[in-house]
């Protein structure tokens, strides 16, 4: 009985933190309609800033806490004013979500550069001796956490519900144009919500730091938990954020206490998926509220850019020639990186079909890499299957998983789809860590053989290189044709306006499922090749950070361009190889590039280059008096 109460109490503590995080999400979402995935990173920044102020500069705890909160809030305001708020009027919703992924990566990278990768812990605010009430032991920090959570929750509620400022904030999310007409400065309200959310995150981070160890990427955990809490409770509901947070905290602790700490993660994710299936708008969303996808209005519409005509063929031929002679020009280290670039590019092609062309968001692409990678590696290593049949088995398993995930997410769009795919990725991740006997657990699977077809084994990087290039060329030719077919037009119609597409008779669900499956199979293939090339596979090689990294590659290269993401993939894979000493800045650079790409090159490197080349061509032609345009803007 005591244990039960103890566990429940632990759950409430955890839940209080999640509730605070969820409120941060809810705040930004209610004002801007965007889920800010960078939210969790502010927790870590504040906690580590407090640590440094205390231990390096010798401040007393109270001023250190105040300083850390002020600093983090200021940082949040700056970041919001320079990136998030201006981007709101430039980017569609799905890209905004990716921008916040970029911000998360950027902040994590900055933390890594400043504080390194070791874990930190703060001393508790008022001693460690637990208080015993009726036989239940409570750590003093628990009171701090609960107390602060209550204060934050009540204060925020008062501000939102009772003040004119609160009404103005809510008006901005309800109808920005009308809010402007009321004389509300919408941009300022957006910035304010972002800043307030970073303050709430910072408070949560400082409170939880004494009972958790914090690393540069702990922000990701906070983001995931807060996002899940708010989705379980209901995206736009205040009570929902709190209820969702508490429910998530208690479930996690109960699962860890009674089942197994390894699978508590998996159980929580299961809970989330069931909730999404049963009540897609969250448990606490009022039944009368509008459908959540009603706010998926396109704030900004971007056309797909494409290079066409004889010139495109010439460029492609030249590029292919360059790619074929490249292995003879570079060192073996760079050659290995090129092979990795190619392998990842295969998965990114899938992502481009899903995100760039169909307009769906997936934060779990690496989950399929993990399925493919582990299936083929385990079969080839432990069961003596040939690598090729292992790859095929992995692809088949990924296909089945993709169809199941599709069925679950059929009714979901936008942020909920993003969340479901994130949950899927985390689920695969926790299974890869948890099923130690099969996967080798956190330390990874060793002794994976080289890839082979029949008697020919691809043992050298050069042979792997040509294999991967061959695969990519075949895939590109296939999909280039596919995109011009009826299938391609249908998925691009879904991207532009899924309701209109459905009205024209496009079976939206079936096409979405098909694209998701294709994308999953490509990721699976990439995952298998990855394992065979490294002769080793660990969960973090195919974890959530890989999913985020692939999104960065896609965005930097150019969404919806098929070949464009190759440049993004190459850039992010080769940079750390070429600048070895700067490896510690890799994450920060990745985030920064992604944010900059969204901010200044929303069409990506390739998209921008194509637009430029085409403009030049048009200019030349019109000079010659022809005037025909080589640029096909396909707006289905």
């Amino acid at each position: 009985m005591d244990t039960a109460i103890q566990i429940l109490l632990g759950g409430v503590l955890q839940g209080a933190i999640f509730a605070m995080l969820a409120l941060g999400f809810s705040l930004v979402y209610r004002v801007t309609g965007i889920v800010n995935l960078a939210q969790g990173a502010f927790c870590v920044v504040a906690a580590l800033a407090m640590y440094s102020l205390e231990s390096v500069f010798g401040w007393a705890p109270l001023p250190a806490a105040a300083g850390a909160l002020a600093g983090t809030t200021l940082f949040g305001a700056l970041l919001g004013a320079t990136t998030f708020v201006p981007a709101l009027s430039l980017l569609p919703n799905s890209s905004m979500l990716m921008l916040t992924v970029g911000l998360l990566t950027l902040i994590e990278g900055a933390i890594l550069a400043v504080w390194g990768s070791q874990p930190y812990a703060l001393p508790p605010f008022s001693g460690e001796a637990p208080v015993v009430i009726a036989g239940v032991r409570i750590v003093p920090q628990g009171f701090w956490i609960i107390g602060t959570a209550v204060v934050v929750i009540v204060t925020l509620w008062l501000v939102l519900a009772r003040t004119t400022l609160g009404k103005a904030l809510r008006a901005c999310s309800d109808n920005p144009a009308a809010a402007r007409l009321m004389g509300i400065d919408v941009e300022r309200m957006r910035l304010l919500s972002f800043t307030m959310a970073s303050l709430v995150g910072a408070i949560g981070g400082i409170m939880v730091a004494p009972v958790t160890s914090l690393e540069f990427d702990t922000g990701r955990f906070f983001t995931n938990s807060g996002f899940m809490a708010v989705a379980i409770g209901g995206m736009g509901s205040y009570i929902g954020a709190i209820g969702g947070g508490l429910l998530l905290g208690v479930t996690e602790q109960v699962a860890a206490g009674y089942v197994s700490s390894l699978f508590s993660n998996a159980l929580t994710l299961g809970l989330l998926l069931i909730t999404l299936l049963w009540r897609p708008n969250g448990l606490f969303a009022s039944l009368g509220s509008r459908r959540s996808d009603a706010r998926e209005e396109l704030r900004v519409q971007r056309a797909i850019v494409r290079l066409s005509g004889p010139r495109a063929g010439l460029y492609a031929a030249l590029a292919l020639l360059g790619v074929l002679v490249l292995p003879y020009l570079v060192s073996s280290g760079v050659l290995s990186s090129l092979v990795i670039t190619g392998i990842l590019f295969i998965a990114v092609i899938g992502l481009d079909l899903l995100m760039g062309y169909t307009g769906q968001v997936s934060l779990g692409q690496a989950g399929f890499m993990a399925i493919g990678g582990y299936t083929s590696a385990v079969l080839a290593t432990n069961y003596d299957w040939s690598p090729l049949s292992g790859v095929v088995a992995g692809m088949a398993l990924s296909l089945v998983c993709a169809i199941v995930v599709s069925l679950v997410t059929m009714r979901l769009r936008g942020v909920y789809l993003a969340l479901a795919t994130l949950a899927f990725g985390l689920l695969v991740d926790s299974l890869a860590v948890g099923l130690t006997d099969t996967t080798g657990g956190p330390s990874g699977l060793v002794g994976i053989p080289s890839f082979s077809v029949g008697d020919y084994a691809f043992t050298t990087p050069r042979s792997m290189y040509y294999l991967v290039v061959g695969l990519i060329v075949a895939l590109l030719i296939f999909f280039q044709g596919g995109i011009k077919s009826g299938f391609g037009r249908a998925i691009q119609a879904i991207r532009t306006d899924h309701m209109a597409a459905a009205a024209f008779g496009v079976n939206v669900e079936r096409y979405k499922m098909a694209v998701f499956a294709v994308s999953a199979v490509l990721a699976s293939l990439a995952g298998s090749l990855y394992g065979f090339f490294f002769h080793f596979l660990s969960p973090e090689m195919v974890g959530t950070s890989r999913s985020f990294e692939m999104i960065a590659m896609l965005v930097i290269g150019g969404e919806g361009t098929l070949v464009g993401p190759l440049f993004g993939t190459a850039l992010l894979t080769l940079l750390p190889t070429i600048f070895q000493p700067f490896a510690v800045y890799k994450t920060a650079a990745e985030g920064l590039l992604m944010v900059l790409a969204f901010r200044f090159l929303p069409a990506g490197l390739f998209g921008t280059a194509v637009a430029w080349i085409t403009r030049q061509a048009v200019r030349r032609k019109s000079d010659a008096g022809l005037g025909a345009s080589g640029l096909k803007r396909s707006l289905p």
Binding site: T164, K167, A168, R170, A171, D174, N175, A177, A178, A179, R180, L181, M182, G183, I184, D185, G236, G288, S289, R290
Partner: protein
């Protein structure tokens, strides 16, 4: 009160409205009539600042406001009730109305509440449902709410964009009599309407907009009797439509007879 001089405005590529010269005097109802896409809403948006202008000037009470943000224009006494009942659906009626007085931040809560009661005298249907979410109101009530919200800011000039769009005839009559009552209290009204008959009947003056240009202007009564206006906006087209349907139904009846006979 309001003077537009040589105004051009539009979206993206090029201007939608060109060289608009228009004025609204104090206590006057001025109506813009024209077909869908003629540019009426574009003019309304340019005046309230939702849309930038590419040429010309906008003067409110002798002061140029075309460079100012929407907020400054609300403060100057200009309120725009946009087309399509742009209410805040998830906020309660009371909160919608309170936000209408957002620029009057010196007003105490009790004063705002007093103002709500005052404004809602004209909209008794709203009074009973002040704590309902606005999204649950009927279309007509939402339009009422949008106008009431606009009045909360105590405007001196109110722009009503298509207030009768999609409303039942009873509501339409009600809204137009309310517009007249507002004018009688000294408010200036710029009305943009597709229902030319009713809006010209209530208006002191009117402008006919076609393809983004003013093609005709004059007193409401004169325009109502103008042959071109009658032909294009007051049922010339309607008659043609009616006769077409009549012909159709006649031929249908004839075919039915044939079928029955065989």
């Amino acid at each position: 009160m309001l003077k537009l001089h040589g105004l051009s405005a539009g979206y993206g590529v090029g201007p939608v409205v060109h060289d608009i010269n228009l004025s609204v005097a104090k206590g006057e109802i001025v109506t813009l009539i024209g077909a869908n896409g003629a540019g009426k809403s574009t003019i309304a948006k340019a005046v309230s600042g939702l849309l930038g202008i590419s040429a010309g000037s906008i003067e409110l009470e002798g002061r140029r406001i075309d460079g100012e943000r929407p907020r400054a224009r609300v403060l100057a006494g200009l309120v725009h009730v946009p087309e399509g009942r742009q209410i805040f659906p998830n906020l309660s009626l009371r909160e919608n109305l309170q936000l209408g007085a957002y620029t009057h931040q010196h007003m105490a809560a009790s004063q705002v509440e007093g103002r709500i009661q005052e404004v809602c005298v004209r909209f008794p249907a709203l009074l009973g449902r002040l704590d309902t979410a606005a999204g649950f109101l009927s279309g007509g009530q939402q339009q009422m709410l949008a106008i009431a919200r606009g009045l909360m800011a105590k405007p001196r000039l109110i722009i009503l964009d298509e207030p009768s769009l999609g409303l039942s005839p009873a509501f339409v009559t009600e809204i137009f009599s309310m517009i007249r009552a507002l004018r009688d209290q000294g408010l200036s009204v710029l009305l943009s309407e597709q229902n030319a008959r009713l809006s010209l009947a209530v208006a002191d003056r009117g402008y006919v907009i076609e393809m983004g240009r003013i093609v005709l202007e004059g007193a409401g009564k004169d325009l109502l009797g103008h042959p071109e206006v009658t032909e294009r906006y007051l049922g010339g087209a309607q008659k043609a439509e009616e006769s077409a349907t009549e012909q159709q139904s006649e031929s249908l009846v004839a075919r039915l007879r044939q079928l029955l006979a065989s």
